[in-house]
Amino acid sequence: MIKHESIETNAGLLIVLTMIVISIGGLVEIVPLFFINDTVEKVDGVRPYTPLELRGRDIYQREGCYLCHSQMIRPFRDEWLRYGHYSLAAESQYDHPFQWGSKRTGPDLARVGGKYSNAWHVAHLNNPRDVVPQSIMPNYPWLMTTDLDYSDVQDRMRALKKTGVPYSETQAEYDRNVAKFGADVADKLDILHAEENLMKQALNNDYDGQRSRITEMDALVAYLQVLGTMVDFSRYDEGYFAEFR
């Protein structure tokens, strides 16, 4: 039996034992969720990000958007009325790391996709006060003038694949994605054609209004426009989601 005195007089041992005691608190809250069948809702439509959206998400993290914006609508009436349907666990199943955030200096962005036009996002990111006079959000003018670096997008997808995101490299993985998401989506999750797909999406949609180039603005707006749009809530009875708690 270790004596009280020997722990208190041995800083290394004290640190290790303190960490063990504190981590028990976290583990008992988190670990059971891995084993409870109803943690993640069974819904259709949630898919991994396309290469362009993925790079947009990287920029979202680089610029620290998560410091002021959450992506987690809680099941409260006020949030329901302001932001829309509460977030589902299923909606962040391919997010590594998730972008739930913990501080709302700005509004929640979990369902911002499709709410504003691309032109609005471009104007707003360049200088938020052009469209929202009382905004305190910083300007991000360089997004519009910096070409998107997508030379390593395949590696980024491979890294996420290691964490369990179903991007495909082999024919078998591609076929599995076709079965799961349909051929259209499966094509966009193909690592080997990532650059080509990224260029195609950026040029077809022209998010930033500059058709001649692919900028960081293209990627970030593509990402913002897909947030919260993957699940078609009109297909589900609201009571269905309550079964998963």
């Binding site: 099941p75 009382q134 609201e238």
Partner: protein
């Protein structure tokens, strides 16, 4: 600290260690109030475990007792489930005091025609308060909290000028279906001199004093198939509402900031820029995001903001 001095080290048990030879630490028992508060939290936890979902058991968890929540599903069937925040929200949205009151009014407004709402002070008060929130959340990001818009980007809703029509049914249609505002780019159609002429003519329509010869040349481009401007802006320059074409004869400018310029040269440049690069604007459709009743409230609100027709 006088207190501790009074006690001799032997009177109270110490933790047993000594620092710097003589500094010792008392090992006093915990105060009773603290101890009882601690026991109370333990009892609270035990009761909580029984009443609320708490313990994981294999692939599921204990659901708690005496905590049922009943809500109505989309088929109108009553569903009872154990306590959880999602069912609680659903019940609150269906059955809460605010929900019931607001639904009562929403149903009243949904059933009423526009003229009825506009003529009823109580329904208008409800409309103004609810639609203000809806407008702030959904419309204000572009059109501004007062509906003033942004010149060059988003139309002003608080003035008398309506690109797509200012009657109730036009506004309802605009909100529900959205619009694609489009004017082609004419930079390849006209040379610089023709652009000058056309810009002068367009400025003359709203009463600006311009070079008459240039304006007359511009008029020909505008009124004939050379430019074809009249297809959408009409021969009179008042604009076809069905195309969202601007009325060029009033002093209201939504894209080129003519009113913000003091000299004719700048005004001309700003008009020319619009003619040469065209316009591409999109108002999203809201029929998927807002209910028919919500769109109705917003329609009345927007109609009231400016000179609804």
């Amino acid at each position: 600290m006088g207190d501790t001095k009074a006690k001799s080290p032997g009177a109270v048990q110490t933790t047993g260690h000594a620092w710097d030879g003589d500094i010792q630490e008392f090992n006093n028992p915990l105060p009773n109030w603290w101890l009882w508060a601690f026991y109370a939290t333990v009892v609270f936890a035990l009761v909580y475990w029984v009443l609320y979902p708490a313990w994981p058991v294999g692939g599921t968890f204990t659901k708690g007792v005496m905590n049922d929540i009943t809500f109505v599903d989309s088929d109108g069937k009553k569903v009872t489930t154990h306590w959880n925040t999602r069912a609680l929200l659903l019940k609150d949205l269906q059955d809460g005091k605010e929900a019931r009151l607001s639904r009562e009014y929403m149903n009243k407004v949904a059933a009423a025609g526009y003229s009825e709402i506009l003529g009823d002070a109580e329904m208008m008060a409800f409309t103004r308060s609810v639609a203000k929130g809806l407008f702030g959340d959904n419309c204000a990001p572009c059109h501004g909290s007062g509906g003033q818009g942004v010149i060059g980007l988003f139309p002003n809703l608080a003035d008398d000028s309506w690109l797509w029509g200012g009657r109730i049914e036009d506004i309802q249609n605009t909100i529900g279906q959205g619009h694609l505002g489009f004017m082609p780019a004419f930079r390849d159609t006209f040379n610089d001199k023709q652009l000058d002429d056309l810009a002068f003519y367009v400025l003359s329509l709203s009463g600006n004093k311009v070079d008459e010869a240039a304006s007359a040349r511009g008029k020909i481009l505008f009124q004939t198939d050379a430019g074809g401007c009249y297809y959408c802006h009409t021969k009179a320059g008042t604009g076809l509402k069905s195309q969202g074409a601007a009325n060029l004869t009033d002093q209201i400018w939504t894209i080129a900031d003519v009113n913000g310029a003091t000299d004719l040269e700048t005004k001309k440049e700003r008009v020319e820029k619009v003619i040469s690069s065209g316009v591409q604007r999109q108002m999203p459709h809201w029929s998927d995001r807002l209910s028919a009743a919500q769109i109705k409230l917003l329609t009345v609100y927007v109609h009231e903001l400016g000179g609804g027709q």
